[in-house]
Symmetry: C2
Subunit: 101 residues, 2 copies
């Protein structure tokens, strides 16, 4: 391959890399906004539970959430193990927030 062809291939690859990074950034922006909305919901859940003396943790609900998210992940061809790890990561943050209130 000539230097010129190499250069063109590298430039094409770099353009494609920038395109993919722009998509990743767009997806990350969307996820951040959805998570902001999700924490608004869990804050309301926290306040509601506190006001009505409902138990803060509900293992049955968590089991349903995990099952549901694993099944959704499979449909979307996302690793279900990762989906479960992700949900636990979010729930840990919710618990941390509730404790700090």
């Amino acid at each position: 391959m000539s230097t010129l062809q190499d250069g063109t291939a590298s430039q094409d690859a770099y353009s494609r890399l920038l395109e993919l990074r722009a998509s990743i950034d767009n997806l990350d922006s969307a996820v951040v906004h959805l998570l902001a909305e999700r924490f608004k919901c869990t804050q309301q859940v926290g306040r509601l539970k506190a006001a009505h003396g409902m138990p803060a943790v509900d293992p049955d609900r968590e089991a349903v959430q995990i099952r549901r998210l694993r099944s959704l992940a499979e449909q979307a061809r996302l690793d279900p193990e990762f989906a479960e790890k992700f949900l636990n990561f979010i729930i840990d943050e919710v618990v941390r927030n509730h404790r700090s209130l």
Copy 2:
């Protein structure tokens, strides 16, 4: 408060809880699908980098991503610390996926 009023208040609270949980489930579904799309992008990035001998890790890119996501989180009233932790959680998974390929 009479037992009837208590009962009504609890029932209202429980209905509201179910409503909030349905919103949380909807938001989680959306996030799972966005993450599935995000991993499709990072897989393409991994293949592109491998094919063109580009370095797998790019600390400058990561620094830009973190700065960007923290700023977006602030605008969305999401804890920027959490947004950074979240991005690192996702990047760790991307690295784990690339290693397993």
